[in-house]
Symmetry: C2
Subunit: 502 residues, 2 copies
């Protein structure tokens, strides 16, 4: 028993070390790698992925896991060991269901599909991508049969990103949310305030953007010694090690506030990563987030509930005014708050505002379900996409690049990923509602740029659990109930009624 | 035969991939890693080193290598395969001589020794470091017995850094060079020019230093897509992949010219790395430099023979004047040339000028030989060091930190490394002499900042060979003879006589 436990903990530590190395390869590729380094970098990353996969599915690991899982032995394990073994066995069991040959086929197909997707985008022509997307969907279906979770086929895909979540729950929550959001959006877009709304055009010099990002991260209590911020095309957060969590942003966007809000967003991810359990769970499978949805809840919590909160600007607007006096001297707090929260229905998900964002996700979720249920064909996709976009957002893409080709996710075979963005938004609202109900003084603290009590609360109610329980359980414990889009909707209604309809 | 060959080439490719990953971990640690990332980074690097070592000494590899080395099979191999198998077998054979347990003991001792060395430096007290240094020397001797190359014991250590070089050759070349350099130095330091020589005090703003570094790298034909330059405490060059070679410099030194000359130095290393054989030798053991000495010859060639050459400043001084007009307007070409080539006997190797640098190396070489021959004890080292320093350079360290404790090499067990710095200087002079004899127009090209023909020549005579032959063979082919310190001495005499004695 002791030998098996030693083996398993050493094994997890090695996976953790390799995971950090793989993360560094990815980070470097997105930030500093010279252009021509791409080809060797792909080989390096593929080599590591293969090594990690081989380790996960190794027969020796499986032998020790099954041995320790025997009831007579399992009962003698400490509570900690039991949690670790259970979680790990579940993951390994799942990984072992998938034949190595299948993984090779997926890698080959998605590599080609990514190139085809890029080219199709350039040519604004979905048909360039469609036959490979068909292949990917076949592979997704094959994968579902390997995994074979009871329930909806799509549950098998969802489980990779949002463990334990079901298609049934999402269909219930998302259909409610869709209906209500469309109604709310229509009310807003027909309001006088919306009609009179104007684009605000102002730029913040790069150096000042950088300074403002540093300031807000400091307020969020990101420790300088354990983090850094760099530049990449698309912002992201990655953990190289427990004390080495890195975020990126971009200062070159047309929208001068992009770097600030994306930094707050990634800062939320980073705080979560930095707060994941160490101590007895260090270098185990437990020291990780239980799902992408809850990870995204942390970034959206900070970006939307905190940095797009009116109170937040009581502290930060004067600071912005000091840094950019000529441009912001005459802007009132109210004008500024309206500006950063403008509702602007758009065709592009990554440019969507807080209110319409989830509609973009639900559109993709609906399509993914229909593809997996084989109710629609790939061939019909552009047409279906455009029709749904018109229904939901009220706009029709002029070409496939602004429509069905806009996201890279499908080219990589990431079906089941999109819903986690909406789950994140909903969880974030639930956490914020609970936090401010329990501790109304938080609103006052936000007015002074003081977030330490928020971080402490998130630590106690989210970060510290790691993967000891599912996301739904964490939210249930913290908020008294699991995923509830009604709370999110109420939050949006309250905020956007005040902005547009009063 | 085919199966064995396939195995061996795949194996080398994996080692090449892993080597690049390890290089990235090192690069990141020295450039961007957050402070607290150190502990996990050590684990990541150690894990990879272990993985690489296990791969090198694997029995399967050895099986295929011995199989292919059987005369009847070997004779049937292509010339390329024969070269690869021979080289690889030699390396693997050597690695397999060393017990794994020994490597663990070395790692443990050097880790402790490095900390002790750091602390001893802080306290300026050699005795804090001495007992661990004694242990390291015992380990070095143990290592010599495992490797067991016929000849001097020290040859076993030298061979790790300068394959094929012998202690006997170095003793002959270095004792000649030492004698002659001491005489030359005495002549210079008693000259009127030297007596009148004054420290020049000027600073170049960081941004302009950066710009000048970029300009000189462009002239050296370093391709932007395959390289980058960053900042680290000590400058270095590293290869992450064939098309991803990175150099670093430092803009914070007191000497404003440090960044420029160190960039040229590292640029020389980078050009070599970028020029190493690909094609049929890609991802084989051949696609590497055959020794540290020849690698160093490339950096010193560019730093000393090119960038500290009078002709070089015909082009670059006007450019410097344009960038820093106030400070350099009144400086003549001759004054500038004298300033950047000032002889200044110093206690510290890394601050030494071109003329005295090799004396610092020879001092260390003499001491290493005596330690390995067990003619002196670690206990006597500070005394011996100071005495030798007085004899050679004419200065006595006031404390151990400025004396025997100044370099980290011994704490890491790198005995046999120091001589490669002097070998590099000598080879560089030999290459420059041959190049300018064959192609005198090179001197004119240097005057116009044109270095493409130099790069082409180095490619043809050094880079393209990789490890197909030893450094000595490469130099013999290029210059008509192997290591010859007389050529280096003549170069120095000619240059410094003109500067100080005419």
């Amino acid at each position: 028993m002791k030998k098996s436990l030693r083996y398993i903990y050493q094994h997890q530590k090695e996976l953790s070390i390799l995971g950090g190395i793989a993360a560094l390869l990815g980070w470097d590729q997105m930030t500093y790698m010279p252009l021509s380094g791409t080809s060797r970098r792909s080989e390096q990353s593929a080599f590591l992925s293969h090594l990690i996969h081989e380790k996960v599915i190794s027969d020796t690991l499986w032998y020790h896991l099954t041995k320790l899982s025997k009831q007579s032995i399992f009962d003698k394990l400490s509570n900690k060991d039991q949690i670790v073994i259970q979680r790990l066995k579940k993951d390994v069991h799942k990984a072992r269901k998938v034949p190595s040959d299948f993984i090779k086929r997926v890698t080959k197909t998605t590599t080609m599909a990514y190139s085809a997707w890029e080219y199709a985008r350039k040519k604004k022509d979905f048909s360039i991508f469609s036959s490979l997307l068909e292949k990917i969907i076949e592979l997704e279906l094959e994968y579902c049969h390997y995994i074979n979770i009871p329930g909806h086929l799509y549950d098998n895909l969802l489980d990779d990103y949002e463990e334990g979540m079901t298609t049934k729950t999402l269909q219930r929550e998302f259909s409610y949310l869709k209906k209500k959001l469309i109604t709310l959006l229509k009310k807003i877009t027909s309001s006088t305030s919306y009609q009179k709304q104007q684009d605000v055009d102002f730029t913040i010099p790069k150096e000042i953007q950088q300074e403002l990002c540093q300031i807000v991260l400091k307020h969020m209590k990101l420790p300088k010694k354990r983090t850094r911020i760099d530049v990449s095309t698309h912002p992201f957060t990655t953990s190289i090690g427990y004390d080495d969590v890195r975020i990126t942003t971009n200062f070159e966007r047309d929208d001068s506030m992009f770097s600030f809000f994306s930094t707050v967003h990634e800062g939320g991810h980073a705080l979560y990563e930095l707060g994941l359990p160490r101590g007895k769970f260090k270098d185990t499978i437990i020291s990780d987030a239980p799902s992408l949805g809850i990870h995204e809840s942390q970034s959206r919590f900070w970006e939307n509930m905190i940095a797009k909160n009116k109170n937040f600007w009581d502290y930060f607007l004067p600071l912005f005014r000091k840094k950019i006096p000529n441009k912001l001297r005459s802007v009132t707090n109210d004008e500024w708050y309206r500006m950063i929260n403008q509702v602007k229905p758009s065709l592009i998900r990554v440019e969507a505002d807080e209110l319409t964002y989830c509609l973009h996700i639900i559109l993709r979720f609906d399509i993914e379900i229909q593809l997996i249920e084989q109710n629609i064909t790939v061939h019909e996709l552009p047409h279906i996409w455009n029709e749904k976009m018109e229904q939901i957002i009220g706009l029709t893409p002029e070409n496939d690049t602004d429509g069905v080709l806009q996201d890279m996710h499908w080219s990589g075979g990431s079906f089941g990923y999109f819903p986690t963005y909406a789950i994140g938004s909903i969880y974030a609202a639930q956490l914020f509602q609970r936090l401010t109900t329990l501790l109304p003084e938080i609103n006052i603290q936000i007015k002074t740029g003081t977030f330490s009590e928020i971080v402490t609360w998130l630590h106690k109610h989210v970060y510290q659990f790691g993967r000891t329980m599912s996301s739904e359980n964490i939210i249930q414990r913290a908020c008294g109930e699991g995923l509830n889009s009604k709370i999110f909707l109420e939050y949006l209604q309250d905020k956007y009624f005040k902005l547009y309809l009063t």
